[in-house]
């Protein structure tokens, strides 16, 4: 897919909370240490953080890099599966905090871990149709896993924000995108339930691998590229192995996914996962680099994008904290503190 008017990324911003839970802590509590660890550690939000506060800091970083007035942004869209309110858009809080109200469209997007890239597709379309010059798409989450469940090792928190605008102002322009969606019940959460249900092994082949490979192969075919044409590739990261394996299946090398592979250090940040991988790649990108981004959301689907970095990247990279600066800001917590921070303690 391609918009009528050429568009690109004007500014981008990352945010990762300060606290980390080592996967070995989860294994210590639930398996006496006898468990394979899907990541080294995961990010944990502080007591005063939620999807709105995470999205706000990512959005401010995107604005700092974009160098445009908040009032010129005409859409603020937040994709998440952990919005603080069931009814009351997170996007209104974010838009107000960054100073984008009231001449703005705002809405929350939902599609498990690809809610953020779904918002990105829409922002590309809004700017690409000429309805507005600047739109912001954010993926942010504070994901929860049931205590002792396999998901508890990886469910993490983070956010990434992107300002989409005209290609001539962009630090990376869009070459094309593709979305691939089917009705696949690999992972779900019913209303009023705190923790999700998932299909165990079913989440792999028929869900994650099938949707990402179809989306990426179709995009490459549309654009006439092979994996060798890309400087870097970022895939959704529910753990360390899945993105490594899907890269191999598609013909991307370990080196191509190295910079954007953050799951080992921060876990699965859900709607922010692939979008944070892209902020990490953009932090170190040079003009001319072609970058592939492919999300995955349970339910299920994948959005794939191809961007090419422009000369404007170098002056904007240092205008806000890098993704690695947030990863380096790290305070480990034990399982007990984690239980307090994530409000898993019942006070009777």
């Amino acid at each position: 897919m391609k918009p009528l008017r050429e568009v690109g990324i004007i500014g981008y911003g990352a945010y990762i909370p300060r606290y980390r839970l080592p996967a070995a802590e989860v294994a210590r509590v639930w398996t006496e240490g006898h468990a394979g660890l899907p990541v080294e550690e995961k990010s944990v939000p502080g007591l005063d953080e939620d999807t709105a506060t995470i999205a706000i800091e990512a959005a401010r970083n995107a604005l700092a890099r974009g160098g445009i007035a908040a009032q010129s942004i005409r859409a603020v869209w937040v994709g998440s599966e952990s919005h603080p309110y069931a009814v009351k858009p997170t996007s209104t809080i974010v838009a107000e905090a960054i100073g984008a109200t009231p001449q703005v469209s705002a809405a929350d997007w939902e599609f498990a871990c690809k809610a953020g890239t779904e918002a990105l597709q829409a922002a590309i379309a809004l700017v690409g149709s000429g309805m507005t010059d600047f739109a912001m798409a954010i993926g942010a989450d504070t994901a929860q896993g049931r205590p002792g469940d396999a998901l508890e090792y990886t469910t993490a928190a983070g956010g990434a924000a992107y300002i989409i605008g005209p290609r001539e102002h962009s630090l990376a322009y869009l070459e094309g995108s593709y979305s691939y969606v089917t009705d696949t019940p690999d992972f779900f959460r019913r209303p009023y339930q705190h923790y999700p249900e998932h299909g165990g092994r079913f989440t792999g082949q028929p869900a994650y691998f099938k949707h990402i490979t179809h989306a990426v192969e179709a995009l490459l075919q549309e654009l006439g590229y092979t994996p060798g044409d890309f400087a870097a590739a970022v895939f959704h990261q529910p753990n360390t192995k899945f993105p490594q394996r899907v890269a191999q299946m598609l013909g991307f090398s370990k080196e191509q996914i190295r910079v954007g592979l953050l799951a080992p250090k921060i876990g699965n940040t859900y709607a922010a996962s692939s979008l944070l991988g892209l902020t990490a790649v953009l932090d170190e990108a040079k003009p001319g680099d072609r970058i592939l981004l492919a999300s995955f959301g349970s339910g299920a689907g994948s959005d794939a994008f191809s961007f090419v970095v422009t000369d404007l990247i170098q002056e904007r990279q240092r205008l806000a904290p890098t993704t690695q600066a947030y990863i380096a800001r790290r305070k480990p917590v034990d399982y007990a503190l984690y239980v307090r921070y994530r409000r898993k303690l019942q006070m009777h």
């Binding site: 005063d48 170190e284 890098t322």
Partner: protein, 140 residues
Amino acid sequence: MNVPRYWRSERTRYGLVGEICRSCGKPIFPPRDVCPHCTDEGQDVHPFGGKGQVYSFSTVYDAPAGYTEYQPYTVALIKLDEGPLVTAQLTDVDNEAVHIGMPVEMVTRKIKEEGENGLIIYGYKFRPVLESKSSRPDRF
């Protein structure tokens, strides 16, 4: 239910939005009807940069109702780079590491929740300044 009161102060709380006095040109925070420097009445809206230093502080181990969930936490008087002093909670910091002169920056965080069914109140807090440069020199 204090919804109207919270709503009226939203801009001030979310983004550290204060004023500049039209008569004496001095920055004012929080916004006031009368300038505390020259007592004139005309002011223009002014978003503050959000950077400052810890001027004094105190760690709270026995918090008032509504804030107990976050204790222990440190409340500080912050001297903003523009001049005004602001009282705010510090966050993302080890309480024993706080010191006078510590460079801090504004972030928007949850201040409190009005119970399980109530409003979530967001507002400014301050944290140690985050280094904006990556420590990784290598590129791909």
